[in-house]
C-alpha cells in the first residue's frame, strides 16, 4: 500500500523549520518527501491542510501492566492509547509480575508489541534481580535478548554499593543504568513534596532535596566507574543544576522529564486529588519553571510519557494510601505542544524531545523523517483543540493528572510501518 501525504507541513531535518510539501510512503517505508511529488498509481492520497506530519513519537519511559497487572493496562490497551497519542515506539519498564529480569520475558514483551501491529515495545530489564535491590540482574543475557537499558523502574537503586556495581558492570556491555532519582530513606512514606502545602494538608512529605541527593551521589558514582547513567523524570531545579554541571564535565549523564513536571505544580493536588499523586511528587512552581528551562537549554534530553496506569481501586483512596502514578500516553503530545504555544519551546525542539532525541538515546532507527526508514508517522493538527477527560481516554488507564485540561494539538492519524493504526 502506497500513501501520498499532500498539503502537509513537516520539519526539514537540517533546516529545523517547517516546510509545506508532500511525503510518499511505499511498502511501509518513507520513499520520498519534497515540495511536490507525483502520485504513483493507486496510492492513497491524504490531504491535510494545516496539519503537521512528524515521526511517530518515541516514548522512552512507560509502565504497562502486562504481564501481571493487566487490570491496569495490557499491551493491547496501551497500544490503542499510544496510537491515539501519535506514539509508535514505547520503552517499557520492568515493574511487572513477573519482573522483567529474565531473557525469555524480554522476548515475550517484544513479541507482544509486534502482535499489536501498532507499536514497537522496547523492554527495559531490571537492574537488580526481582527489583529487590540486592543483586545484579544478567545484563549481558538480557541485553542480547533485546533489553534497551537497565532500571529498577519506579524504585531507586538505593544502595550506593550496588549502584556502583551496576554502573561498573553495565559499562562492560556498553549498557546504561536508568535511575529513579530519589533518596529512598528521605522519600519513605511520602505523598507530596515538602513545603507549606503538604504541611497544611497534613500529608507525609518528600523534600525536593531527596532528588538532588540521589542525583549527586549517582553522578559521583558514574564518574568513579565510567558508567553511563540516565536519570528518569527529573523534577527539581537543584537536580538539574547538578546534571548540567556533570554534562559540562563530559560525563555520560542524560535525563528525561515528563509532562506533569513542566505543566503542573503541587497545587494540582488541590483537595486531595489522587490522580495528581505522582512519583516523584509534583513540585513547587519554581521547580516547574526550572524544568521548562532545562528543556530549553538542552539539559533534559527527552520528554517521556511516564505512563503509570492505575485503576479506580488504586486511586479511590485517601491521598496517603492511594497509589502514585498518572496515565500519560494520550496526553504526551498535547501537553508538550502547550510549551510551544506559550513560547517556551520552538516546535522543532519540542518534537525532537519526543522523537529524534529519545530514539538516539535508545539507539534505534526511528524518530526522524528519512528516506528508507520505516514509515512510523504521526499527523496532527496543531491548532485543533480537545479536552482531556478522565473516563473517556483511549486505552484502559484513566488516571490522568490533566483531567479537564484543554489542549491544542489533535492527532489526526498514526501510521506504523505505513499501516494506519489510528484515525
Amino acid at each position: 500500500m502506497n500513501i501520498l501525504f499532500r498539503k502537509i507541513k513537516y520539519l526539514d531535518r537540517s533546516a529545523q523549520s517547517l516546510i509545506e510539501g508532500e511525503l510518499l510512503v511505499q511498502d511501509g517505508k518513507i520513499a520520498d518527501f519534497g515540495p511536490s511529488l507525483g502520485a504513483p498509481e493507486g496510492a492513497e492520497i491524504i490531504e491535510a491542510e494545516g496539519a503537521i506530519l512528524c515521526p511517530g513519537l518515541v516514548d522512552m519511559r512507560a509502565a504497562i501492566g502486562e504481564p501481571g497487572y493487566e487490570y491496569r493496562e495490557s499491551v493491547s490497551s496501551a497500544a490503542k492509547a499510544a496510537a491515539a497519542g501519535g506514539i509508535t515506539t514505547i520503552a517499557v519498564l520492568p515493574e511487572t509480575n513477573p519482573v522483567i529480569d529474565d531473557p525469555a520475558l524480554v522476548h515475550f514483551l517484544r513479541a507482544r508489541g509486534e502482535e499489536t501491529g501498532s507499536i514497537t515495545l522496547l523492554p527495559y530489564a531490571a537492574a537488580t534481580r526481582g527489583l529487590a535491590g540486592k543483586e545484579l540482574a544478567e545484563y549481558g543475557l538480557l541485553q542480547q535478548a533485546g533489553a534497551v537499558a537497565f532500571t529498577d523502574g519506579s524504585k531507586p537503586i538505593a544502595s550506593s554499593r550496588l549502584m556502583r556495581l551496576a554502573l561498573s558492570y553495565a559499562s562492560g556491555f556498553g549498557a546504561c543504568i536508568v535511575q529513579h532519582p530519589e533518596d529512598a530513606e528521605l522519600a519513605r512514606g511520602g505523598a507530596a513534596t515538602a513545603g507549606p502545602r503538604a504541611t497544611w494538608m497534613g500529608l507525609p512529605a518528600i523534600p525536593a532535596a531527596a532528588e538532588a541527593i540521589c542525583v549527586a551521589r549517582d553522578i559521583r558514582l558514574a564518574e568513579l566507574t565510567g558508567g553511563a547513567l540516565h536519570f528518569a523524570h527529573i523534577t527539581t531545579a537543584e537536580a538539574l543544576d547538578l546534571i548540567r554541571r556533570a554534562k559540562e564535565k563530559g560525563l555520560k549523564i542524560t535525563c528525561d522529564t515528563a509532562p506533569p513536571y513542566f505543566d503542573l505544580n503541587e497545587t494540582a493536588i488541590g483537595d486531595y486529588r489522587t490522580y495528581a499523586k505522582l512519583s516523584p511528587p509534583l513540585r513547587v512552581e519554581a521547580d516547574r519553571q526550572a524544568v521548562v528551562a532545562g528543556l530549553k537549554d538542552g539539559t533534559i534530553d527527552a520528554i517521556a510519557s511516564d505512563h503509570q496506569p492505575r485503576d479506580a481501586d488504586d486511586k479511590r483512596l485517601t491521598f496517603a494510601d492511594a497509589e502514585p502514578g498518572g496515565a500519560g500516553l494520550a496526553t504526551l503530545l498535547g501537553v508538550t505542544l502547550a510549551r510551544v504555544q506559550n513560547g517556551d519551546l520552538p516546535l522543532a525542539q519540542a518534537l525532537a524531545l519526543l522523537t529524534a532525541k529519545p530514539a538516539a538515546w535508545l539507539g534505534i532507527d526511528a524518530g526522524v523523517l528519512a528516506k528508507g526508514r520505516a514509515a512510523d508517522l504521526c499527523l496532527f493538527h496543531p491548532e485543533k483543540s480537545w479536552q482531556v477527560q478522565a473516563g473517556s481516554l483511549p486505552g484502559k488507564a484513566q488516571n490522568t493528572p490533566f483531567d479537564g485540561r484543554a489542549l491544542e494539538g489533535v492527532v489526526l492519524g498514526t501510521w506504523k510501518a505505513g499501516r494506519r493504526v489510528y484515525g
Binding site: A194, G195, P196, A198, T199, W200, M201, G202, L203, D271, Y272, D313, R316, L317, T318, F319, A320, D321, A322
Partner: protein, 307 residues
C-alpha cells in the same frame, strides 16, 4: 446563620461563621449547665459516628451532643487493623447513603478522608479528626473555652507547645486563632515543628521559656508514643525537661495565663500533674464540657444547611 453543609476544617470558615458557632455553642453551654439539656431540633435525624480510629472522648462528646438535640445516634467503630484499604471507606459511604444518614461524624487516620467521603455521601460530613490535617471541633471548643475565660477571642497571645508536626489540633487552632486576630507562638523541637507551618501572625520557638513569655494561654499537645520510638525525640525524660509544662516554665507566661490540653494527657511527658490539676490555672475540664456544647452547635448548623 450562614449555610454550612459540611465541617471539614477551620479552613473555609470565616470570622463571622466562627463567631456564630461560638455564640450558639455558648447558649447550649448555659442550657447544659442549667440542666435543661433535652432539645428536639434534630428529632428524626440520624447521626452516625464513624470512627476509624479509637477515640472514646470525642465519640462520646458527639454522641451526647446528638442525643441532646434529639437525633438518633449510631456508633460505628471500624477497628483500624481491619482497614488497610480505603475501599472500605467508600464501601462504607455507599452503605451509609443507603441508610439515609443525615449527619456523618468521621475520624480517620488519613488526612483528607472526610473530604473524600463528603464527595460521595448525601449526609453532612463533620470532621472529627483526619490524620495530621484538621480537627475543627477541637479548635472551636478551645476558642469557646478561651472566650469564656478571657472575655474575648482576639488580641491574645497563645502558645501551642509540643508535637506540632503531627498535630491536627495544632493546625486547626493555628488557623482559627490567627483568623480571629490572635498571636500564635509555636514551641517544640525542630523535629516536631515544621518551619513551613509559619503563616502570618505565627512565631516559632525552640526554647520553651522564651516562647511562653507574655502568653495569655498555654496550649499543650499530646506527644504520641510512636514519635519517641520513631526517633524524633530521644526520650520522654529529655522531652519533658525541655518541652514539658511544669510550674517553673509556666511562671514565664503571664501571671494569669491559663493552661489547656486536648487530652488525653501524658502526665510527666508533656505536662506535670501539678499544673494539669490546678483548678485556678487549668481549663482542661472546661474544654471537655465545652466540647459537647460546640458539637451541638456544629451538628445543628450543618443539619439546618442540609435539609
Amino acid at each position: 446563620m450562614a449555610s454550612m453543609k459540611h465541617l471539614l476544617g477551620i479552613e473555609g470558615l470565616n470570622p463571622a461563621s466562627v463567631t456564630n458557632l461560638l455564640d450558639l455553642a455558648e447558649s447550649y453551654a448555659l442550657l447544659n449547665r442549667s440542666g435543661k439539656t433535652q432539645r428536639d431540633s434534630l428529632r428524626g435525624r440520624t447521626l452516625i459516628n464513624l470512627f476509624f480510629e479509637d477515640s472514646t472522648r470525642t465519640r462520646t462528646s458527639f454522641e451526647l451532643a446528638g442525643r441532646r438535640l434529639g437525633a438518633d445516634v449510631v456508633n460505628m467503630s471500624v477497628a483500624t487493623s481491619s482497614v488497610t484499604k480505603g475501599e472500605t471507606l467508600l464501601d462504607t459511604a455507599a452503605t451509609l447513603n443507603a441508610m439515609n444518614c443525615d449527619l456523618l461524624v468521621v475520624r480517620h487516620k488519613s488526612s483528607g478522608a472526610p473530604a473524600l467521603l463528603a464527595q460521595k455521601v448525601g449526609a453532612s460530613v463533620i470532621n472529627a479528626g483526619d490524620g495530621t490535617h484538621e480537627h475543627p471541633t477541637q479548635a472551636l471548643l478551645d476558642a469557646l473555652t478561651i472566650r469564656r475565660n478571657k472575655g474575648r477571642i482576639s488580641g491574645l497571645t497563645v502558645a501551642i507547645c509540643g508535637d506540632i508536626a503531627h498535630s491536627r489540633v495544632a493546625r486547626s487552632n493555628i488557623l482559627l486563632l490567627t483568623m480571629m486576630g490572635n498571636f500564635v507562638r509555636l514551641i517544640g523541637p525542630p523535629t516536631l515543628l515544621p518551619g513551613a507551618i509559619a503563616v502570618n501572625g505565627v512565631e516559632i520557638f525552640h526554647n520553651m521559656e522564651d516562647g511562653l513569655k507574655g502568653a495569655d494561654i498555654v496550649m499543650m499537645l499530646r506527644l504520641q508514643k510512636e514519635r519517641m520510638t520513631g526517633g524524633l525525640v530521644p526520650s520522654p525524660r529529655e522531652f519533658f525537661t525541655y518541652y514539658g509544662l511544669d510550674r517553673k516554665k509556666l511562671a514565664c507566661a503571664k501571671p494569669d495565663a491559663l493552661v489547656m490540653h486536648p487530652g488525653p494527657m501524658n502526665r510527666g511527658v508533656e505536662i506535670d500533674s501539678e499544673v494539669a490539676d490546678d483548678a485556678t490555672r487549668s481549663l482542661i475540664k472546661e474544654q471537655v464540657e465545652m466540647g459537647v456544647a460546640v458539637r451541638m452547635a456544629v451538628l445543628e448548623t450543618c443539619a439546618r444547611s442540609n435539609q
